[in-house]
Symmetry: C2
Subunit: 444 residues, 2 copies
C-alpha cells in the first residue's frame, strides 16, 4: 500500500514515523536518479572512506576501548574485538567492494522477460528498487558500508540500527554515506540511523512504510525480529546443517568435509552440526572420528555410532537438531538413503545439507529430494555463502521460501515491475470470437 | 522451519494440524515424483472431468438452486450466478487449461543460474516446489481446478477453502483431483479441502506447516486474511488504478482507454478508478467525458475539471483514492507530469497505472518513475491480467513487493534451491593467500 504523506493525520506523528516517511520520500528520488548518479555516490563514498580514515580509526578505537572497559577491565573476548574492530585491512576490503558495486552493471531496469502480446503491444518485466529497508546488526560496523552501498546501488533507502558497542564507528560511517549521497546531488535521508531499541521497536510497527527487515546477527536476534513485526523478514533463525556420509562415501573425503564443516568456523550458520551416517559406512566411521578428535571436536553419538567413536559421549534427544555454534558434533546412524533424506527433512533447518558419496545415483536423489536452501554433493557445508557463490556482497542468508532463498546478494534487494507499451489498444477488443493475443517471447 | 511429524507432541493435535501435516507429507512425495507422473495426474484429471461431466453439472445445479432459494426465492443476482455456474463452456475452458499444463514443460528443476566456483565445483540455482498452499476463494468453483492443477504441476500441496454456496460443486471437483492423484500413484492428500470458517481460521495459525496463503476474492477477504495470519499472503487488497491523460494525449485514444478501463469490467481490480488530467489537456476533456457519459459512467470531478464535464458531480475528499467497483470515475486535474506521478504514488494502490501520451519522453519518465506493479503507456489498465500477459493460468495479482508482483502465474508457486556439485573441496582452502574462486558463469 502506498504511503500518503500529504494526508492530514489526526494523531501527531511519532518521530519514527516522520523518519520512515523521509526514507520513503528519499527512496522515490533515489529510484528516479539514473544509474550513473547512484554510481557517483558510491565513488564519493569510497573517497570519503579514504579521506576520513584517521577519524574513522579514532572513532573505532573509542568503541573498542569503551567495550573493553565495560567488560570489567578484563578486555573483550577476542571474537568480539575481531567483529568490532575496523582496521586498515577491513577498510580496504570494504572500499574495494564499494568500487566494484560502482563499476558493476546497473541492477535497475534490467529486462527479465519481454513478450509481444499483439502487434504494437509489448510487455516487459524489469527489475526495480524494493523500497525502504530496515537493517539491524550486531557489533560489526562494516555492515553499515556493506548494506548501505548495496541499498544505494539497488535504489533502496535504508534505516540502520547498529549495536550500541559500535556507536561511534557507526555514526562516522553513516555520515560518510549521507555526505556521499549529498555530494552526488541525492537526498541523504536515503540512509538514516537509529540508535535505541525503542526507536527500532517502533519502526518494526511501520509496516506501511518499510518493505523489508534484514536482521544480521544471532538466531536469537532473527527470531526476536520475526516475532515482533508484520514486515517481511529476510534471514535465517537457525543453521542446523547436516553432512550425510553415504555407504559409498570416500572415507578420506568424509573426514576432510566433516573437519572443514565443523572446524573452519564453528559459530557460522553454515557450520556442520550433525553427521548422518549410513549404516554400511560404520566400518569407516572411526577414521572420520579420529580426524575430528584431533581437531578437538566433542562427538555426541547415538547407540550404533558410539562403539566406532572412542571418546564420544552418548547423544541426548536434542543432539541432531541443535545448532551448537561450537566444536561439538552430533552423530546419528540411519539404515539407508531414504532414512537419511527423511532425517534431514525432520531434524535440519533447511539451510544447507550435504552428502558425501561416490555413487552418482545416490547423489542425484539427494540433490533432487532434499528440500533445503542449499544442497551439496561432495562439498563442505561452509560453501553456502554469498561471496563464495559469487553473488558479490551478501545481504544475508535466507531460509524463507519466498522472494529469496539461501545466500542473498543484490538481487534480494530488488523487485520487478511490468511495463506495457501500446498504441491505444483496449482489452474489450480481445477474447473469444474477437482478436487473439500473439504471446510471442521477444529477445531481452 | 521444517515440520517434525515424528516428534511426540504434548498437546493432542487438532484435526487442522493433522490435515496440514498430511498435506506436508504428501507435498514431499509430490516433489519427489518426476514431471511425467505429475503430468499423468493432470491428464487423468482432464479425463475425469469429462467422464463425470453429468455428476458435476448436477452438483452445480444443486448449488445454484440452493443459492437462489436462500435468496428469498427472488433468484440470485446475475453476476453471482455467472460466478457460481459451471456450464459446459466453462468446463471445456478448464479442461483445455489442464491439458496445456500437462503438455507444457516441467516447471521444476529448471536452472536459473549456473556458475563454476572453481574447477570441479559447480553451482546451480534450480526451481523447486514452494510447499503447502492454503487457498481461499469465493463463489467460483472453477478455482478448485485452476489452482489445484497449477499446484500439482508445481509440486505443491494445496488446501482449498471454497465458498459455502459452491459446496456441492467444490466437493465433486476436489474428488476429481484426489482421484486423479491416486490414479497416477500419488498421495491424494496433496489436495485437501475444508468447508468451515473455523477450520480455515485454525489453518491460518499453522505458520510452520503452510508456506503461502492465496485469497481469491474481494479486497475485504484479502485484508481479513492479511490481518489474521503470519503466513505470507499473495494478493491485492485494493485496485485503485489511475489513467493519466497527458497534455500530449490523443483525445480519441484517451476516450477509448477511459471507456475500456472503466466499463469493460467495472468490478475488476484492474478497472480504472481515476482520470488524472494534465491541465493542458482540459480543452479536450469534454470529448472524454461525453464518451464516458454515453456508457452511463457517473463522473466525480474536482473544481478545475467540473466546468468541462456536463453532468459531473463535485468530487469529495475520497474521490481519487477509492476503488468504486462500479460505473463511477473520479477526475482530478494536475499541473504537470511531476504532479501526475506524485498523485499516482500518493493516491493509487500501486496495482496498475497508465499514461496516454504521444510524447515518448513523457512516457519514458512515467514508465521509469511510477512504482506500481504494472505501468502502461497507451494501453488500457484492464490488460493487467495473467492470461493477457501470457502467463498461462493466473494464480492471482499481487501488490506485494516481495516474491511475486503483478499478475502471478506458475512461477509464483515455485521457490529455488542452490545445488553445488564438488569433488571433496573444503572452504578452508580458499581465501586471501590461498586458492581463489573462478566464479565463471556457465551456460544454462
Amino acid at each position: 500500500m502506498p504511503t500518503r504523506p500529504d494526508e492530514a493525520d489526526p494523531i501527531p506523528l511519532g518521530p519514527h514515523v516522520a523518519l520512515a516517511r523521509r526514507a520513503r520520500a528519499a527512496q522515490r528520488a533515489l529510484a528516479r536518479a539514473d544509474g550513473a548518479r547512484r554510481a557517483d555516490a558510491l565513488l564519493r563514498l569510497d573517497r570519503l572512506l579514504e579521506e576520513r580514515a584517521g577519524a574513522l580509526a579514532a572513532a573505532n578505537a573509542d568503541d573498542v576501548a569503551a567495550a573493553s572497559s565495560a567488560n570489567d577491565g578484563a578486555g573483550l573476548e577476542a571474537p568480539l574485538v575481531r567483529r568490532l574492530g575496523l582496521g586498515p585491512a577491513k577498510l580496504a576490503v570494504l572500499r574495494e567492494g564499494v568500487r566494484q558495486l560502482a563499476h558493476g552493471p546497473d541492477p535497475l531496469g534490467r529486462a527479465l522477460a519481454r513478450r509481444e502480446l499483439d502487434r504494437g503491444l509489448e510487455l516487459e518485466q524489469v527489475t526495480s528498487p524494493l523500497g525502504v529497508l530496515l537493517v539491524v546488526f550486531e557489533s560489526r560496523p562494516d555492515a553499515v558500508v556493506q548494506i548501505g552501498a548495496l541499498a544505494l546501488r539497488a535504489g533502496d533507502a535504508v534505516i540502520l540500527k547498529g549495536g550500541a558497542e559500535a556507536r561511534a564507528s557507526n555514526r562516522a560511517l553513516v555520515a560518510c554515506l549521507r555526505d556521499a549521497l549529498e555530494g552526488a546531488g541525492l537526498d541523504p535521508d536515503a540512509v538514516q540511523a537509529v540508535e535505541t531499541r525503542e526507536e527500532f521497536a517502533r519502526l518494526l510497527a511501520c509496516d506501511d512504510l518499510i518493505d523489508l527487515v534484514i536482521p544480521r546477527g544471532s538466531g536469537a536476534l532473527v527470531r526476536h525480529v520475526q516475532a515482533s513485526t508484520r514486515i517481511p523478514v529476510l534471514g535465517h533463525a537457525e543453521g542446523v546443517c547436516n553432512l550425510v556420509l553415504d555407504r559409498a562415501a570416500d572415507p578420506d573425503m568424509a573426514a576432510r568435509l566433516a573437519v572443514d564443516g565443523k572446524c573452519d568456523a564453528p559459530s557460522a550458520c553454515n557450520a556442520t552440526e550433525t553427521l548422518v551416517v549410513h549404516a554400511e559406512f560404520l566400518p569407516h566411521l572411526a577414521r572420520v572420528g579420529e580426524a575430528l578428535r584431533a581437531r578437538g571436536v566433542a562427538l555426541r553419538a547415538d547407540a550404533r555410532a558410539l562403539p566406532h567413536l572412542p571418546g564420544a559421549t552418548p547423544a541426548g534427544p536434542d543432539d541432531g537438531r541443535t545448532e551448537y555454534g561450537d566444536l561439538v558434533l552430533a552423530v546419528r546412524v540411519v539404515d539407508d538413503l531414504d532414512a537419511a533424506i527423511a532425517f534431514v527433512a525432520e531434524h535440519g533447518s533447511a539451510h544447507t545439507d550435504a552428502i558425501v558419496t561416490e555413487d552418482p545415483a545416490a547423489a542425484a536423489r539427494f540433490l533432487r529430494e532434499v528440500d533445503s536452501a542449499s544442497v551439496f554433493w561432495n562439498a563442505s557445508t561452509r560453501f553456502a555463502d554469498g561471496y563464495r557463490y559469487g553473488l558479490g556482497a551478501e545481504v544475508g542468508i535466507s531460509t524463507s521460501r519466498l522472494h529469496a532463498r539461501g545466500p542473498v546478494g543484490l538481487d534480494g534487494l530488488l523487485t520487478t515491475r511490468w511495463l506495457l507499451r501500446g498504441q491505444g489498444q483496449v482489452a474489450g477488443d480481445y477474447g473469444p470470437g474477437k482478436r487473439a493475443f500473439t504471446h510471442r517471447d521477444l529477445p531481452r
